[in-house]
Amino acid sequence: MKLGETVYVFGPVITGRDEMHIRAIERSVAGEDVPSDIEGAVLFHCGPIMVQREDGTWAVVAAGPTTSARMNKLEPEMIRRFGIRAIIGKGGMSKDVAEAMREVGCVYLAATGGAAISLAEGLSRCTGVEWLDLGMAEAMWRFETERFGPLIVAMDAEGNSLYEQVASSIVRI
């Protein structure tokens, strides 16, 4: 995948923010069970608005990306420990994260911040939730996706970052 390219995701995606990262890493370190679909996942930095239907299943109301930089300290270990293959978020991530992405072969796909209704249309079905005790925003939600995007390849698997390129050419007058 080339830097700056527009892509769409099809297939399973899980969500995870600060608390989900902390719990997944803590449990894994302690040798406790973690949901198997974290392994090799497409990880969406998102705390969606969800409503539960009468039959117990969940429907998504709004689901845009959250600020990925909050997970900068947690993500390198998350990527290495679970072999995360793609991260979907906004705002980009640190050099340490880019290094872990390069090692494992992971890309960072930028979703448009705040575009929560359009993006939710690409989440065709919620297939479950883990760790709902963390709250709606921090829980780990599972989705099937169908043309989820548009997403921009903003950090590639070779350590290049569109955010770095933009930052280095910023004009401060």
């Binding site: 705390g47 959250t66 600020t67 980009g92 911040g113 925003a137 903003a154 569109l162 930052a167 007058i173």
Partner: protein
Amino acid sequence: MIKLPEPVEDIVVNLLRLANTKLPADVGWALEAAAGWETGDIARTQLGAIMDNVKKAEHMGRPMCQDTGIPVFYVRGRFDSTIVAQISKGVERATREIPLRPNTVDPLSRENDGSNLGEGMPIIHYIPTDDDFTEITVLPKGAGSENMTRLAMLNPADGVEGVRRFIIDSVLDAGGRPCPPSIVGVGIGGTSDKCVEMAKEALLSPLDSENPDPVLAKMEEDVFVALNSSGLGPMGLGGSTTVLGVKIRKAFCHTASLPVAVNIGCWATRRASARISDEGVEYSQGVDF
């Protein structure tokens, strides 16, 4: 307190629904103008996705962003202490009915009771006046932009240039994190608390309203041009639209101080006001006070 035509609780639910589902017209116009002058493919994709989303959210009556924020209230005019309980009830009901994302947690244990209330909530600023109305304004403030808030207690010798530098650096250092193109709220002067309060209040002013202070109006224009010449662009992915507007407020300060605060509003700077009088309730989406 003036006689109210309907319960404040209902008005608060209406306000939160309006603010979260319908972008203020002035912000929408600014985004459309930006889409007209952007030339880069990536920047145009971002602005296109934003405008598409705004239309869908309004049409479907759903919150345009999943981060429905912490609602910050401003109550102006005539009111009494019962308004706190009524606003709280409105927030709790809106959270269930719209629905809003339950965002408030204990800062240390991180426990979330799902109500969007809790200790110290809701945030309400009071501006009593002798007018014959009660005006309630809500500014749902998401964390992406709020987390980029900065306060500097500059030295008076840093002067106007120091103030300008601090504003520009605060916005550019935030990069793509606050969801640009953003609206920059600035407070200059006051005490530290007053300064941050002014920076946030500045986000309530419609983008097409002119600053009555010519010195501040000129500074707003200057910072606006500088930021949009930076190249940061929509979502920090590059482009010529970094900000949709700059709004500055000031207050007198201590002779030994020069406080400056920056409070960024994301592209989805959501606001709604209800002016309640004997004649009924009038809703709008931007106020200057």
